[in-house]
Subunit: 519 residues, 2 copies
Amino acid sequence: MQLTSVIRRAAQVNPKGMATVYKGRQQTWHEFVERVAKLGGALQKLGMKNGDRVAMLALNSDRYLEYFFGVLWGGGVIVPMNLRWSAAENAYSINDSGIEIMLVDENFAAMVPAIQENSECLKTLVFAGEGEIPPGMEDYEKILGASKPIGDANRSGEELAGIYYTGGTTGFPKGVMLSHRSLYVSNLSSCREFCMPDGARYLHAAPMFHLADGAASLAVTFAGGTHIMIPSFTPEGALEAIQEHKPTNVLLVPTMIQMLIQHPDFEKYDTSSLTTIMYGASAISEAMLVEAMTKLPHTKFVQAYGQTELSPVATILPPEYHVTEGPNAGKLRSAGKAVGTCELKIVDEDGNDVPTGTVGHVTVKGPITMLGYWNKPEQTAEALQDGWVYTGDGGYLDEDGFLFIADRMKDMIVSGGENVYSAEVEQAVTKHPAVAECATIGIPHEKWGESVHSIVILKPGETATEEGIIKHCHDLIAGYKCPRSIEFRTEPMPLSAAGKVLKKDLRAPYWVGKERNVN
Amino acid sequence: MQLTSVIRRAAQVNPKGMATVYKGRQQTWHEFVERVAKLGGALQKLGMKNGDRVAMLALNSDRYLEYFFGVLWGGGVIVPMNLRWSAAENAYSINDSGIEIMLVDENFAAMVPAIQENSECLKTLVFAGEGEIPPGMEDYEKILGASKPIGDANRSGEELAGIYYTGGTTGFPKGVMLSHRSLYVSNLSSCREFCMPDGARYLHAAPMFHLADGAASLAVTFAGGTHIMIPSFTPEGALEAIQEHKPTNVLLVPTMIQMLIQHPDFEKYDTSSLTTIMYGASAISEAMLVEAMTKLPHTKFVQAYGQTELSPVATILPPEYHVTEGPNAGKLRSAGKAVGTCELKIVDEDGNDVPTGTVGHVTVKGPITMLGYWNKPEQTAEALQDGWVYTGDGGYLDEDGFLFIADRMKDMIVSGGENVYSAEVEQAVTKHPAVAECATIGIPHEKWGESVHSIVILKPGETATEEGIIKHCHDLIAGYKCPRSIEFRTEPMPLSAAGKVLKKDLRAPYWVGKERNVN
């Protein structure tokens, strides 16, 4: 199982098709393979040896895809840098994984000095952006032009292919080690689950550094398809790219879908090429789905749930369950069913299976699991037990085998000895007609340990009272699950790069000087 | 990558669906997993240890699928016996792989004494058929009933899962060793390539001992679907099963498709459930395709090419190329394009790539390749070089990346120093209006080494002369490729179990006492 074999095969089965389309540039798969083989050689000349980690800190572009495969072709390991992180955080991951070579574009070149200041190992910078080459940096096109295409280093199987740093919504960044095997198998499977036709056209609108988009990248490569990139998501940019380049598939988070379909000029664009929208990070609300399906009548929706540790897809909610009526209705809030490449178990604190319908820890086993966390044997032992990845999510399976995520285990609220899952509270609160968004956290309470606290953003022009929302919840869920306090917020929720609400940031002001008791 | 994980996942995602439907019996996936875990235990009680080979000699049934997974669950290795083989041939493969336990049904129980006479190792027979238990055999249901469900032996990855004996169209039987990895990856991929929907219903009409059907078995299990079995193919049996059990997918060889659609009662049956027919072993003629598409207007066709050594699929001709007009026409005689899990190269005698359009040796690399031949290091070294499987087939790639098989390398005719590929000759001959079938071989010739000889079956009621057919060919292909002699035959061509014409049998009478010079 060799990730680079997939691009050679794409060149064979789609010799006339384009590999990448970015701004004014495009290239065939044959040209792409040639450039990848040159980049592998250029990186080796810069000192990259077998298994060496190479970073990239850049917005989306065709070169990001060349970086993925060029590093692997030359025997290296990719470490895509999180674009939301500060220089200090990026320096941490560079030092942690011992990176000597980093590619950077014009959007992040200014951050480089601050990273270098904090880094012990970073030696070589390659400027892969547009415009003037900053001093002290190698010119991407120049080193590529000076290199001959080299033979594939032939890393494969259990060998390390990428390290993806995940701090995500909780704790200290950890480098998730993914093998050629896990990425290969996961994306071979996703090619079917994401409804990618042969020769699919995929729009990179989500950030390529994140594995959610990275996974779709590989799936569309298995389909021998075409990669279309925009530097980063804006509703206008995405709509223009859809109209001009006619992608069939795109991966978005629900917030992006909302921004797209609610854009005032949405109707002016031709979006009929889109056959499938994959989305993840959070469930889609019934109201938004109905709106999206009305505005995109030819488009199917697929939800994916997973995490970096699972390369990343664990469950899929297929298109036929994106309905509000009929025998398939009622699954929209679920994360779907286990994909073919994974076994899924819900376990209690002792690791035993819990009954159907009971919330427990979501665990996953299969060829899609990570090798472990880079240099973190303790955290690895905790997350990866007997081949099972402990996701850190609480959830339950219904009698049809659908997974419902109740909460991050660490976001679960323990109030008066009862477990309260924030997702359930949030669903109740957002059913209030005036509420646009809600995030629910546990805040310290002397008697109960934690008390249920909901942070609410109202719809424009709407009003509501704390009392009114709490009363509304009492009609829908058990009393101990109802918020005891409501906080009205006007600015957007803090989001991770994957589009998840950063509850630790929401919780932080309440817990200053106090220790939260989490497993 | 563990084959048994796929049935546990099927039970989770399709808890109410049926795993198997056979005659009067059916069982859910939960019941199936339970019986598999019991069979694993029962086989261990009979002495099966980790890695032990266990055979089955039987027509298709639900128990055949239980055998596949029960042996693997208990830690064993499956060795499905070729139903076309004589007792001596079956004894050979039993001795070669050291089989102690064999399952047998009522159709093959009578062959057992003759096998035992020639076998050194066979100790235990389990009767998995219908009717009275023959003396000296264990009762399948009884040993299963007496066993508790055991835990999975957890073999996976590179560990041996099955040995498939292939003598096929050439030479001495060889035991192809397939790992959990190769079967898992190949069938995960086939699930998409074979257009298997979630919850697909698959009809086992082709023999389950053969990996062509075995592969579809695993692909439909990845889809969490339902296995419907008929003991063996008859057009009436298949039509009745299609009408009654409504399969969505079926794998057939072209001869079977022909028997089905040309059956006098075809129109009386409801065949509308069939969304996809996969076929292999040989290309489908344009005339037959048009007839099949007319009679099965809701059915797509997918051709697969491969061999046991490739677990087994290497290339696929997708539905959109099953057309006689439009931009996708002209590919029907091809074997399609490399599947996502394989790289495909056409090489000359020195192992170098040949140019597009040039015939060479078809070689394949990827996670779908065999581990090697059981106990045959020399043949393994010949067939598996630097990770590439040498298929033994001659073929070329066109400029769109489609593979055209010219010939088995061993069936290629060398006449006066020129290579003649029998497929090309056969296509020319069968374009003669009176010709139903043609097989072309090389026969000894003093001057040219070999001369081109075609064996022809005429259509009922038609007549033709040797001279007329040869003249017809001269209008279509180069002179040196035209048959020098024609033999008219009235009985059917000798076929392998996979439906391929056994050219070595056709050649044999001409080469008595002479040595054929093949690479």
